[in-house]
């Protein structure tokens, strides 16, 4: 009975490969690849990735054109482009921290906001602070790229107090996740 012999199979494959190729052939193919390399960035995918996003005033939303970076208790603060609710910064908390006794929701909706100082777009996670009655201070409603319930991660009307001990809404934070 013939047994399965991986060593013999491997040897057979390598001998066939060596017999069908040559060092010159491999060098020739490498040369072609090197010559052709500069052409690859012209392909559509590379061009799309290389294209710099348009951050001119004409390409910005009304919110982005008027956004500021100095006062996080104002609705115009740049990270609030898609927030909805009371700003935790006005309720005893901060941009990414809850007021005393409130609990940060582990999940959130998100927005993509442009920082006017560096012109870059950043992914912002709007995490609700939960477990206390509504703060009621500094009510804001940023609507940049805000959608409806069938795209819940981009909807800012939903009470996002999931996974917390209480679903009572208190206020919203704007946590910077990274470059968008």
């Amino acid at each position: 009975m013939k047994m399965f012999d991986p060593d013999a199979m491997g040897e057979k494959f390598l001998r066939r490969f060596a017999g069908g190729t040559s060092r010159r052939g491999i060098l020739a193919r490498l040369g072609v690849a090197l010559v052709a390399a500069p052409v690859f960035p012209l392909l559509p995918v590379s061009r799309a990735e290389a294209a710099k996003p348009d951050r001119s005033p004409e390409a910005k939303t009304a919110f982005a054109r008027n956004a500021q970076t100095t006062d996080d208790t104002k609705c115009t603060y740049w990270r609030y482009c898609a927030i909805d609710g009371s700003l935790c910064s006005c309720c005893g908390g901060g941009l990414h921290s809850c007021p005393p006794g409130a609990e940060h929701s582990p999940v959130s909706w998100v927005g993509t906001c442009i920082n006017p100082e560096d012109g870059r777009a950043y992914l912002i996670a709007y995490r609700d602070c939960c477990g206390k009655s509504m703060c009621g201070q500094c009510g804001c409603d940023g609507t940049d790229r805000e959608t409806q319930l069938y795209v819940p991660q981009l909807n800012n009307d939903i009470i996002w107090c999931f996974g917390t001990t209480s679903m009572e809404y208190h206020c919203s934070t704007a946590v910077l996740i990274g470059s968008a």
Partner: protein, 395 residues
């Protein structure tokens, strides 16, 4: 001693003066001394209300004030209040015998054990009849399509986000929870007569769920709208009798869909172009007329006319209150009238009467009733509520 005598004398003088004054008042013409005093009120039984009338409007009182107040647009009077918890959704029994409220409670205020249910209220007395427990529901305000009832009134569909997406099916005749159907990526429910329900999805398609068999069967249409670039507003209008839905997008595209096992969605048209205005765009700095606010669309079924709240602004101002109503002939794809409002409003509804009335309300809770034909203001109510509006019929 001297002091006491003086005091007594003063008291005598005061009493004499008061007696004299009493005589003057009693002898004055018109004094009703002979008339018997008013009888104390006999406690009357609580009022009841008739079955829902086409002239009525149901006002979701909004984020901070629970309950649904009932107003008669013919008189401008409040008729009663359907109880509801924070962020509750209300539906009307098509037979007019009950009101259903999908709502959520916790055992200790906002803490403790969560309880989700459809609460049944008697249509006449508005008294609690029963509670149908179910496993969860979405918590969000200003929406009409998270709780819908089938055309025959037998079944309720309640949207749930946990944050996994699903739909609770509730048997309203037997008053019991039936099952939960997972529906990833879809929300905004549409009662689909004879089939079950449909929903809009994040890939721009419409899902249709047939609930007739032992297991639900889910099918999807081809994508027909841009869910993130030009979304359809959640508060669209469904006419169960016509088996038709009317959708409106952020840029102002109007779609109509024939419901059924395989819904057919017609090519959209631009509300701006239908008014002779440049088509709505998604580009920044393009100032144009756009639909907006919370509840943007109402349809009068008999005439096939839509009424849309419009405002001037840039794209992504879809929550802005609106100061014009555009009346659209859906069949002719024409804006037949533009009504300029005194101020901006967030919600619009229309009664299905032969001579309909438009109801608009603002974020401040003010509600105004207009004659739909003339635009004349019939009633203004200061603080009715700022939530979504319901009338009897398509909504």
């Amino acid at each position: 001693m001297t002091f006491l005598a003086k005091s007594k004398r003063s008291a005598v003088i005061r009493r004499s003066f008061l007696s004299a004054m009493a005589l003057v008042i009693a002898s004055a013409p018109g004094a009703a001394s002979a008339a018997p005093p008013l009888e104390p009120d006999v406690e009357a039984p609580p009022a009841t209300i008739p079955a829902p009338k086409p002239s009525w409007v149901y006002v979701n009182r909004g984020f901070g004030t629970p309950g649904f107040s009932i107003w008669d647009t013919a008189t401008g009077k409040m008729l009663g209040l359907i109880e509801g918890s924070w962020l509750a959704d209300m539906e009307i029994d098509p037979a007019g015998k009950a009101y259903y409220v999908a709502e959520t409670f916790w055992s200790k205020g906002f803490r403790g054990t969560r309880q989700d249910m459809v609460t049944v209220y008697d249509g006449a007395s508005l008294k609690l009849q029963t509670e149908i427990a179910m496993p969860g529901r979405i918590l969000v305000g200003s929406r009409l399509k998270n709780f819908v009832v089938s055309d025959d009134g037998s079944t309720g569909y309640v949207y749930n986000l946990s944050p996994a997406s699903s739909v609770n099916v509730v048997d309203l005749a037997k008053r019991k929870f039936v099952r939960n159907i997972e529906l990833p990526g879809c929300a905004s429910l549409i009662s689909n007569p004879g089939v079950g329900f449909s929903a809009l999805c994040s890939d721009g398609s419409m899902a249709t769920v047939s609930t007739a068999g032992a297991k639900p069967v889910i099918t999807r249409s081809a994508p027909f709208f841009a869910a993130t670039d030009d979304p359809i507003f959640d508060n669209f209008v469904v006419d169960k009798a016509k088996k038709e839905a009317v959708f409106l997008t952020y840029t102002g595209l109007i779609y109509t869909a024939s419901l059924g096992a395989n819904p057919k969605i017609a090519e959209p048209f631009s509300i701006q172009e239908a008014a002779g205005v440049r088509k709505g765009d998604t580009k920044p700095l393009d100032i144009n007329w756009y639909p907006g606010a919370r509840q943007q669309l109402a349809v009068h079924a008999a005439t096939g006319h839509a009424f849309v709240l419009m405002h001037m602004g840039e794209y992504w101002t879809h929550k802005a209150e609106c100061n014009e109503i555009w009346e659209v002939d859906l069949a002719a794809k024409k804006v037949v009238r533009r009504m300029v409002l005194e101020r901006s409003f967030a919600n619009i509804a229309i009664t299905q009467e032969a001579a309909p009335k438009i109801i608009v309300s603002g974020e401040d809770g003010a509600l105004v009733i207009l004659d739909a034909k003339t635009g004349e203001e019939k009633f203004k109510i200061k603080s009715a509520g700022n939530g979504v509006l319901r009338t009897v019929g398509p909504s």
